[in-house]
């Protein structure tokens, strides 16, 4: 099977599994909803204030919710020794990783698409800058979270209490990406600054860590 065929097969399997169980997406959606409601109670901002803080709130909510999906990525494969079967099969490791990362990208992207209207309604948001720029920011930012998240989830499989290990690894390493997403979003909402540098930073982060993940994933998969 070719690289692309393996990626497609694994991705289709994950989406089918998620479609039938809806475990990750339900948990993520409800979790993100809770965060939105609690933040909204805690700050009760005016429209002007919310423009300044919404960028941070949105991405923190998505980051926390994404961890729910990321933790399930590989845990699902441990049941029935699917991961062991994959390891002894002749299929290369990279398509498996890419499929998992794309799967998480789709789940988190879906979550963002569903939660964004709620954020706009609760925080009375209206972008003063070019709103279309939020699309590349969301795409690059989400990929930055899920590519490292998928990788670190595979690493935390090898640890005790793996559900807590994932955020402990992911959050410190994601600080530059988070700074990029939050500040770019705030720049668009307030319309005061340019997003150019932040988008370049996100792009650099994505390129560097996608390459690194693909380089090292086989090592991590084989280390049992």
């Amino acid at each position: 099977m070719s690289f692309l065929a393996i990626t497609r097969a694994t991705l289709a399997k994950d989406i089918r599994l998620e479609w039938r169980s809806k475990d990750a997406i339900n948990a993520m959606l409800f979790f993100a909803l809770l965060v939105v409601v609690i933040f909204s109670f805690a700050f009760d901002p005016t429209a002007e204030e919310s423009r300044r803080i919404a960028g941070g709130l949105i991405w923190v909510a998505f980051l926390f919710a994404a961890v729910v999906a990321l933790n399930q990525t590989w845990a699902r494969e441990l049941r029935n020794q699917v991961l062991d079967a994959y390891r002894v099969s002749p299929a290369p490791a990279d398509p498996l990783f890419l499929a998992k990362a794309f799967g998480n990208f789709i789940f988190v992207g879906l979550l963002e698409a569903l939660m964004a209207p709620l954020f706009i309604a609760f925080y009375k948001l209206r972008a003063l800058g070019p709103a279309w720029e939020l699309v590349p920011i969301a795409i690059l930012g989400t990929w930055a979270l899920v590519v490292n998240g998928t990788f670190f989830a595979a690493i935390s499989l090898r640890t005790r209490s793996r559900e807590i290990m994932l955020p402990l690894l992911l959050f410190p390493f994601s600080i530059p990406a988070l700074l990029g997403m939050v500040n770019a979003t705030t720049a668009v909402l307030t319309g005061e600054e340019s997003t150019k540098f932040w988008i370049a930073l996100l792009l650099a982060y994505d390129v560097v860590f996608t390459t690194a993940c693909l380089l090292f994933f086989e090592l991590v998969l084989e280390s049992e």
Partner: protein, 227 residues
């Protein structure tokens, strides 16, 4: 090698005492900041030592992945541990100095933030090593160490944009340093390097002894099981 250890210990003790004397008595008092500036002789050498140890951690991790030499893995572990200790010293002495001089404990300045993020990254590296199970801990730890090193330029770049967009009033560049002060600073750095070397060496031998004990215990339980 073993004979060198007490010599290094004595040299470190002498150098540290001499550096203390130099920093507190010989070095001239700074004109505007006064005596509180003397914390500089501990703060800056700790920072340089910590960054050097993190660099050693990265190199040792790469060497481990290439050669699979357990000594490189122990060196990576040890340099990260001692590096985090020195980095903690930097993060504690910094605010002690900043409070009387800048009037604030903390600011999100480039160097401060970078040091804090480095500290966070290496603490999470050490946590991973602590939580990790199974024989492949060195491999995943080495991979995470390389990820940490890749993250550093990105962190630097991101805080640089952040700072240039929100200039902070308290960035103090020392400008030209008094040669006598530079002299004391270098002596202190030499003392701190010796101390770091001593700590790493002790921890290295301890780790080797610990691994031998674990191996012996595993062997023993194996023998018991087969009997």
């Amino acid at each position: 090698m073993k004979r060198g250890f007490p010599i290094l210990a004595i040299v470190t003790a002498l150098l540290l005492s001499f550096a203390l004397y130099e920093a507190l008595i010989v070095a001239p008092t700074e004109q505007t900041m006064g005596n509180v500036q003397r914390i500089f002789y501990y703060h800056v050498p700790s920072a340089w030592t910590a960054f050097l140890l993190f660099l050693i951690n990265f190199v040792a991790s790469v060497v481990y992945l290439a050669r699979r030499n357990p000594k490189a893995d122990i060196l990576a572990l040890v340099s990260a541990e001692v590096g985090v200790v020195f980095c903690t010293v930097v993060l504690i002495t910094g605010p002690i100095w900043a409070r009387p001089v800048w009037g604030i404990w903390w600011t999100w300045d480039l160097r401060l933030t970078l040091t804090l993020v480095l500290w966070l990254i290496y603490v999470s590296y050490l946590l991973l090593r602590r939580f990790s199970t199974g024989g492949k801990t060195p491999v995943i730890a080495a991979v995470v160490a390389i990820f940490g090193a890749l993250d550093v330029p990105l962190v630097y770049f991101s805080i640089w944009i952040f700072r240039t967009q929100h200039p902070s009033p308290v960035i103090g560049d020392n400008g030209s340093l008094d040669p006598r002060m530079a002299h004391v600073l270098l002596i202190n750095w030499a003392a701190f390097l010796c101390l770091a070397w001593l700590l790493c060496w002790t921890r290295y031998e301890l780790e080797i002894a610990q691994r031998k004990v674990e191996e012996a215990q595993a062997l023993e339980s194996l023998m018991d099981g087969s009997r």
